[in-house]
Point group: C3
Chain length 277, copies 3
């Protein structure tokens, strides 16, 4: 298990900026705005097309598709299934974010069905990845109550079994294809006090997955630029409210040449976990 | 009618931070993100689980449930009813926010049905509380056109009749169980120029209602910390745009030991009502 | 084709502040919060009432109605149709935002149906206006890939054919009734990196359309105050994240007496298009 090197992030980010992908997002009700703004900030284009009547026409035009089950209900589940099938037929890579999959039977069943439809990547927190693999988890809602380390083995199994890339994010992020695993120790705990940072990350993962070769590095790069930008933003933020504009600005300004500055600026942020101190 | 004392806010807030509640939110489409961010900022966990298929599994795991009818439609109404019944069966307290109930027959009927299902608390503006009690009101949309004083008697009647706590919020907030009434004169008029401050308050009310004993004080404390944080934020804000990050940061930083500072910092803000001056 | 003069903006803005309109918004899922906050910031009142059961009761009470098809699906389409019919019966002006109409057959058909129901104004980007008029366009998603100049002739034809006002917005905005055309060269490219600036503009267009006489000037004034505020905000912003609070604050502070200051402050902003430089 190796730290993911900056030069690889630079390569993927440069590629994203040269060919900005159009990302079809079928995501949850709560995070649509921040998801769109994060995708725009990194230089890609989001499109939230949600009707069953439209998704099969739209997914094939897009460069990648995101499926996030945070506020799943039957009509949206049908649209997601249709979009995934259309994406697969056109060779458009798609990403699964299995929000809060542990606690709820309805979405667990749907997510298992989606897993069989060959996602290019799965991005979740530790509780979600553990639940997907059948391990016990303490998770009740959308927040993780397990550490990413505890889910690493589950992530590897999930990746191997489904021939996909799994990103399990937390204090340290792990990105694995089941054989090779990258670790990334960026970010800040303040990100867990802002809704949608994880969901928006999944949209960024989709944006990078448009680079079909280099899939493992692409997913790791997505995790890296979001966490690096979060680390930088947390240094300036007075709390989760001011964090958001700093975070979006940091995503907008990150580029292949300033990654080392981002890494240095965010240093040690992961350790100050005394919220409300 | 007494001013609600700071030491009582400190007690409830300390309790919330010791046992951070999971708040199941069935709220309107417009305010989901700010609602989640406000709940996260105060140290609680929001979860927007919305499908009829999932709510009866989820409400019993949550510590409190919020029902907000701002963008009501039939599927969501069914999910709300199901969630309330499940919450009641498991002894999970739930809070009703009857957004814009005055103008519209469809939601008026639904809200009357919900009222008969024993909410722990009802939080609304003056126009909404007046409409719920059958009084005339001038309200057309979601904004109040009546003062909270004018709705105080209606609030008391509503509380008594339904054995619930009613919070009618405005320039002064009143929180009553029909017998005892607390008044709170915090906040700032700028909050009325930001969508979702009232709706997010109702989610905070739900978070505090997880403290099942002390229900009257819990609801008043929710109103207090939101209004105090709004007062502090308004002092720094240049307008409703910069208000939002300051507000979320203030909610994140408020604690049992700095309430007096918040009260002092927000002083007089309620008087500067000359918007666009 | 003449530049739209500041004194005309001042007249319409003064009128809006004297009689703040209630704007019924049926808009897309992604932008509801920023739309509401923009409408509140300019001094009007937004109301997102979305159910087929409620819209025909609500539209007639409102001063204007916005229809935005960004995340169209059958239930919402039915509600939109019902709202438009009720608005027309009550003489309430309504505005159409044909988001991403080029790429998708389902919404193209629905938008064509809506066009036959006499919108007071249509606000779109160049790709959308071209697609509506049957011209070829390069647009795939919600972002324009054509310049507003290229859509000017299409805008004039659309306006004449449908006896409506068409605003085609971009680096330069054009507002036309088919005969007379105003041009507006305000704004900043940073606005294209924030989701909802165009959609929120359409809600502001609806707010100004409540001034039923002077419809051409009202629509142009809406475009002007949003673009002027965007230009001012971009001067202070470090990126699209910090842009949002500055933008909302600028909309809140703009008034008939400081338009020249806004124009001067935003000067040259449209030229710095080197994003991610």
């Amino acid at each position: 298990m190796e730290p993911f090197p900056l030069f690889k992030i630079a390569e993927r980010l440069a590629q994203l900026r040269v060919r900005p992908p159009l990302v079809h997002c079928l995501t949850n009700e709560v995070v649509q705005e921040i998801t769109a703004n994060v995708v725009l900030a990194i230089g890609a284009s989001p499109a939230m097309v949600v009707a069953e009547q439209e998704v099969s026409e739209f997914s094939p035009i897009a460069d990648a598709l995101l499926i996030n089950v945070g506020t799943l209900y039957p009509e949206r589940a049908r649209a997601m299934r249709t979009a995934v099938v259309a994406a697969n037929q056109s060779g458009v890579p798609w990403v699964l974010d299995p929000v809060a999959v542990g606690a709820l039977g309805y979405r667990r069943q749907f997510v298992q069905e989606l897993l069989s439809l060959s996602p290019a990547a799965v991005r979740g927190n530790a509780s979600e990845i553990l639940a997907l693999t059948g391990y016990d988890t303490l998770g009740r809602g959308a927040d993780s109550t397990d550490s990413s380390e505890a889910a690493l083995e589950a992530a590897r199994q999930l990746a191997k079994k489904n021939q996909t890339i799994v990103a399990v994010t937390g204090k340290t992020d792990y990105v694995t294809d089941g054989t090779k695993t990258w670790s990334l120790a960026y970010g800040d705990v303040l990100m867990t006090r802002v809704v949608g940072t994880g969901c928006a990350l999944s949209a960024v993962v989709a944006a990078f997955c448009a680079q079909k070769e280099h899939m493992l590095d692409a997913v790791a790069s997505a995790c890296a630029i979001v966490a690096l930008s979060g680390g930088v933003a947390a240094k300036s933020a007075a709390g989760p409210g001011s964090f958001v504009p700093y975070f979006i600005d940091a995503l907008y300004k990150i580029n292949p040449d300033n990654l080392k500055e981002y890494e240095d600026a965010g240093y040690r942020n992961t350790e100050c976990e005394n919220e409300h101190a």
